[in-house]
């Protein structure tokens, strides 16, 4: 087992956060999809386990050969160790469980949806971060174009100051005009209140994944309900093929979304997303219930991106000798749902295909049972 260095000694770090407070280097926060920044010594989020800070060596000044060491000086627990090395640990085990999960489908591959190009077209996971009280906007649905505009406003303020000092009247006028326009935009479009959720982005699509990703219908409904709870004037449209509300209490939740939160379920696949000159996304879709092609202008569009097998699974599977299915999920048999093609190696969760939380949790216990059978009988149970 290879353990990567975090350059912080886990047994000493008390997660007090003094290091991050003093660290001079700001880095776009990957966990929040770059919607805000954190420091070069960081923790993804407050409740992360283990509760230990990590240094990002690609940005930390020390690792870039510059002078710093502020975190080591600040840390009273003496947990910083710039010399920490990769560790290799040999484990002698009777059973292995593969629970490597999934990664998000790269929505830029669907160019007609404009993800990555249109600022107010985001993925459902970005929406989770926006709705999170611990996220970049503390739970407020600020449009990503506004977040960018606010950053530009801060920059313009500095430039205007400099232009004033330099008596650079030409640029001053230009900056002031841009500032005025941006401020008007921020004022007009600060909060996203008209939302479109697009289902099956990369799933049930022959160009990408043929399968259904199982959990996206529910998280879109959930996000729409939470948005409405946060901002009562929010309107949400969910563009779907089938609303697959198959879990315990799911159908009831969907009905409540419509009746109580006023969500509109629109049966139809979105063909294309464009935007107007104020970054409002316009979706073009076929309403199959009215049998007409329509368009709708929205504040923000949330893509229910598919559950994809993680890229790293191929070398792992090769090393362990386990078979993958055509989608690169770990192959299992429907009647022996935890067993891989290699006796003693089990898998659970989204590593073997899309699953929702309760099924994943149940499967985790099941995989533990299969592993326990092997461990407790010295391998005899493999015959099951």
């Amino acid at each position: 087992m290879r353990q990567k260095p975090r350059y912080v000694e886990a047994s000493r770090c008390t997660a007090c956060g003094a290091c991050a407070e003093k660290c001079p280097t700001k880095v776009p926060n990957e966990f929040n999809f770059g919607l805000d920044e954190h420091k070069a010594i960081y923790k993804d989020y407050a409740q992360g386990i283990p509760s230990v800070y990590t240094i990002d060596p690609t940005h930390c000044r020390i690792f870039q050969g510059k002078k710093c060491g502020v975190c080591a000086k600040t840390c009273q627990a003496k947990a910083i160790d710039y010399e920490q090395k990769e560790k290799f640990v040999d484990l002698n085990v009777a059973a292995v469980i593969i629970s490597t999960g999934y990664e998000l489908f790269d929505a830029t591959r669907i160019s007609e949806y404009g993800y990555g190009r249109l600022p107010n077209v985001i993925s459902a996971l970005e929406m989770e971060r926006l709705l999170s009280a611990g996220g970049p906007t503390k739970g407020h649905l600020t449009r990503p174009s506004t977040i960018r505009a606010e950053a530009r406003v801060r920059e313009l303020a500095k430039r205007i100051k400099k232009a004033e000092t330099d008596q650079d009247m030409e640029n001053l006028g230009r900056f002031q005009a841009e500032l005025k326009w941006l401020e008007a935009q921020i004022h007009k479009h600060h909060t996203a209140t008209k939302l479109g959720f697009i289902q099956c982005v990369g799933s049930r699509d022959f160009r990408f994944h043929k399968y259904c990703s199982s959990f996206c219908c529910m998280h879109s409904i959930k996000e729409a309900i939470i948005a409405k709870e946060h901002e009562p004037q929010t309107e949400s449209y969910i563009f779907y093929m089938d609303l697959r509300t198959v879990g315990k209490g799911f159908e009831e939740y969907k009905v409540r979304g419509e009746k109580v939160s006023g969500l509109k379920y629109v049966r139809g696949r979105v063909a294309e997303i464009l935007e107007d000159d104020e970054h409002n996304p316009i979706v073009y879709y076929e309403d199959t219930e009215e049998r007409r092609v329509k368009s709708m202008t929205l504040d923000m569009v949330i893509l229910a991106t598919a559950c994809s097998a993680p890229k790293g699974v191929n070398p792992l599977a090769e090393m362990l000798g386990v078979e993958l299915d055509e989608n690169n999920f770990i192959k299992t048999h429907p009647n022996r749902p935890l067993d891989t093609s290699v006796p003693g190696i089990f898998s659970c969760g989204c590593a073997q295909g899309p699953l929702d939380i309760p099924e994943s949790v149940a499967q985790a216990s099941s995989a533990a049972a299969r592993a326990a059978e092997v461990v407790m009988t010295g391998g005899l149970a493999l015959a099951m």
Partner: protein
């Protein structure tokens, strides 16, 4: 509980800086000086991190050195750190329940970051409250319980069999109790199972053979569990087998009673002949394909409606599977599925769905407000996508009905004191994080008794429930918490207020004495009874009225 009232109370207070989390916003020296003035406090120490190895050692050393018999730590939340400090006390031979915490970080320095003076004042109050309570703490003890390393699995369908098999393989003795004369449950009525594409009988036969070959598993068919008494680790379960009754000791019980298919009496012209259910179709398919050339399958019959609000999860797959089998039997057969949403979630189901379309199965979405009309040899349906009513020839109509709760689910629920939801399915401990547990320790859940499940899911949940149960079975003994409720037999008037509020079924009414009594093993120390009791007869050890009133007084002291 030992009474040591006369002993001199000697309290040690440890105040944590938490790096700068506390020390950065409160004036620590003031807190230390203040703590020294509090009654019974004989030792005060400030730590950089009380939870660090050196902080813990300072607690362990101070207890014997200063002869401390109570310890207070003013730091963060007991939720994460109380067990650590309690074990430090225990290692220094101090009863862990003679320990108290004041949360001056989360509840003080973090919320008063810009108010050093007021925050420091508040922290003083919090420390004084903890000290006041500590002076009134009593030693408590954890009860050690023996365990029966045996499991009872109620229900011998696919999930119950899987659970029994896993426990048997781990080396635990299992009583697998099935009501019918043979194992298998609903699988006995099925024909071919997809996506495995094998006869259901073969799957069942394999599993049943492995179960009978496992000498740890005792199968009781034509049997029923009629009584279960006791608590986690120590149940006595009565199994009625034919006319004999047997009592077995068991550490855990797994509920795997499954579900049954709804019979659609009065719906869509159901008659059991030309309008049938999937179970009836499966019986026909077992004997070869039915003669009908035109088959219409109707989804959501008796589900996703006012009467039964839920989606039964597996009926779409059943319909798609049977449509494939009908097409494969004769490709000239015309099969149409009338649906609302095709719930073919995941990889295998979507594959199956696509295959059926490739074979020519026709799908027509209908509007629940305009239900299909079943006629003599046709079905009329408003075709939503075409916007008009169409008529489809049909010699055979198959109704996809939901799985509904077993008729005896309510009995099992009251026998084991575990809850059902509004649809009669068992209600798990937490819908996301504890899908196979109940709030009651020692009882677990799997399969369609929880919610309709596919074979894959039922097997997985059976194994999972076995895994949860093995956590108990693998222990030599269980320890209860010292924080449990107690009811004063002298003053209790038997009003039953506590019985009603207890979420764990830990309090029973003793009829002959007309009082209520706490089962300390089942009690989880929530204090609901103590807060409810009008005569203060119910008290929670470690949170007695005397202790809490003392804290409240300190909170309002100037």
């Amino acid at each position: 509980m030992t009474g040591n009232q006369k002993e001199e109370i000697r309290i040690g207070v440890f105040i944590c800086d938490c790096g700068s989390n506390i020390a950065g916003y409160l004036t620590m020296q003031e807190l230390v000086d203040y703590a020294r003035t509090l009654p019974n406090v004989v030792f005060v120490q400030e730590n950089l991190y009380t939870c660090s190895e050196s902080g813990i050692n300072e607690i362990k050393q101070a207890i014997p050195t200063h002869n401390l018999n109570r310890v207070v730590v003013a730091s963060c939340t007991p939720r994460t750190h109380e067990p650590l400090f309690q074990s430090a006390c225990e290692e220094a031979a101090l009863n862990p329940y003679l320990f108290e915490m004041a949360n001056i970080r989360d509840q003080c320095s973090w919320v008063h970051m810009r108010e050093r003076e007021k925050g420091t004042e508040r922290a003083k109050h919090q420390i004084a409250m903890a000290v006041a309570k500590a002076a009134r703490l009593r030693e408590l003890s954890r009860i050690e319980l023996g365990i029966s390393h045996r499991a009872v699995v109620i229900g011998g369908g696919i999930s119950g069999m899987s659970a029994a098999m896993a426990l048997g393989n781990m080396g635990y003795e299992v009583d697998l109790v099935e009501k019918q004369e043979k194992l298998g449950g609903l699988l006995n009525s099925l024909n071919i199972v997809l996506p495995a594409n094998e006869p259901s009988s073969r799957l069942l036969h394999d599993l049943a053979a492995r179960i009978s070959a496992n000498d740890k598993i005792i199968v009781h068919t034509s049997s029923e569990v009629t009584k279960a008494e006791g608590y986690v680790g120590n149940y006595v379960v009565t199994i009625r087998e034919k006319s004999a009754e047997n009592r077995v000791k068991a550490g855990v019980i797994i509920v795997a009673i499954g579900a049954r298919a709804l019979k659609p009496e009065g719906l869509f012209g159901y008659n059991g002949k030309s309008v049938i259910t999937h179970l009836e179709l499966e019986a026909l398919l077992k004997q070869g394909a039915p003669a009908a050339k035109n088959v219409v399958i109707v989804q959501c019959v008796g589900s996703r409606c006012a009467e039964r609000t839920y989606c039964s999860r597996i009926c779409c797959m059943t319909a798609v599977k049977n449509s494939i089998l009908l097409k494969e039997a004769d490709s000239r057969n015309k099969v149409t599925i009338l649906y609302r949403d095709m719930m073919m979630y995941g990889v295998e189901n979507e594959d199956m769905f696509r295959k059926s379309k490739e074979l020519g199965v026709r799908y027509v979405a209908y509007d629940p407000a305009k239900l299909p009309q079943v006629g003599e040899d046709f079905v009329k349906v408003y075709h939503q996508r075409m916007g008009k009513e169409i008529s489809i020839p049909a010699e055979l109509v198959v109704l996809s009905t939901p799985l509904v709760a077993q008729e005896d689910a309510a009995n099992v629920s009251s026998m084991l004191k575990v809850p059902l939801n509004e649809n009669g399915f068992f209600l798990e401990g937490h819908v996301k994080l504890k899908p196979l547990d109940f709030a009651t320790d020692g009882v677990y859940l799997c399969g369609s008794a929880r919610f309709p499940a596919t074979i894959r899911e039922a097997v997985s949940q059976g194994l999972g429930a076995a895994s949860r149960a093995a956590i108990v079975l693998s222990k030599e003994a269980l320890f209860t918490s010292g924080i449990v409720a107690d009811i004063n037999t002298e003053t209790c008037c038997g009003c039953l207020g506590c019985v009603d509020v207890c979420p764990y079924g830990a309090i029973r009414f003793v009829e002959e004495k007309e009082i209520c009594q706490v089962n300390k093993v089942l009690c989880k120390g929530c204090g609901g009874c103590a807060a409810t009791c009008p005569s203060e007869s119910a008290k929670l050890d470690g949170f007695s009225s005397e202790q809490i009133y003392a804290q409240i007084e300190q909170a309002f002291a100037s």
